[in-house]
Symmetry: C2
Subunit: 109 residues, 2 copies
């Protein structure tokens, strides 16, 4: 197995509040994606809705993954004004959130 | 934003039992990675330890991501004898587990 050089993946799981509408969720996703254009160390963004069949999602419905070059990049992102502004908006709509960062070690078939 | 054609990402977060040793965790990771060679629809595997700084990991310490071609691939994996055997072994060492599957929509800078 190889470790991808320096890359850190920042994974956010979200459970939205009951009163948050799907239009508001769409707005949040667009604002999240837009951070790539505003925050230099944020290199990519992807997201999706849970489609799992094992019933182990613990109520989380959305996942967001962004990549950074190194943990310093994540640290810069966390305090960046564009992220702080987005996070305040995002947080208003969250019932629960879970964040994991990791340096992926990978294997392909 | 584009949707990666047919790809499903299968994300597993784990919190191991206190009594599980780091050697046992290494053994679990090798066995998980080895499923790529045994289960045809499982296309790739990566994993990492949490290095997040926001203290929102909710006690989860490890993340495992595998990819599949379509949700049928995940369904085939879940019931595959090699996965069932691995999952029984993995579960013995788990304090908590969370699973999310998603079809990634992505954006690159």
């Amino acid at each position: 197995m190889e470790e991808a050089n320096g890359v850190v993946k920042h994974v956010v799981l979200a459970k939205f509040k009951e009163e948050t509408t799907s239009d508001q969720i769409d707005e949040i996703i667009k604002a999240f994606a837009n951070l790539v254009t505003l925050i230099e160390p944020m290199k990519s963004f992807q997201w999706g809705k849970d489609v799992s069949i094992e019933n182990l999602h613990q109520g989380f419905t959305h996942i967001f993954e962004s990549t950074f070059e190194g943990t310093e990049g994540v640290a810069e992102y966390v305090v960046h004004p564009a992220h702080v502004e987005f996070a305040n908006f995002f947080r208003c709509h969250l019932d629960e959130v879970l964040v994991i960062d990791y340096k992926p070690t990978f294997l392909r078939s």
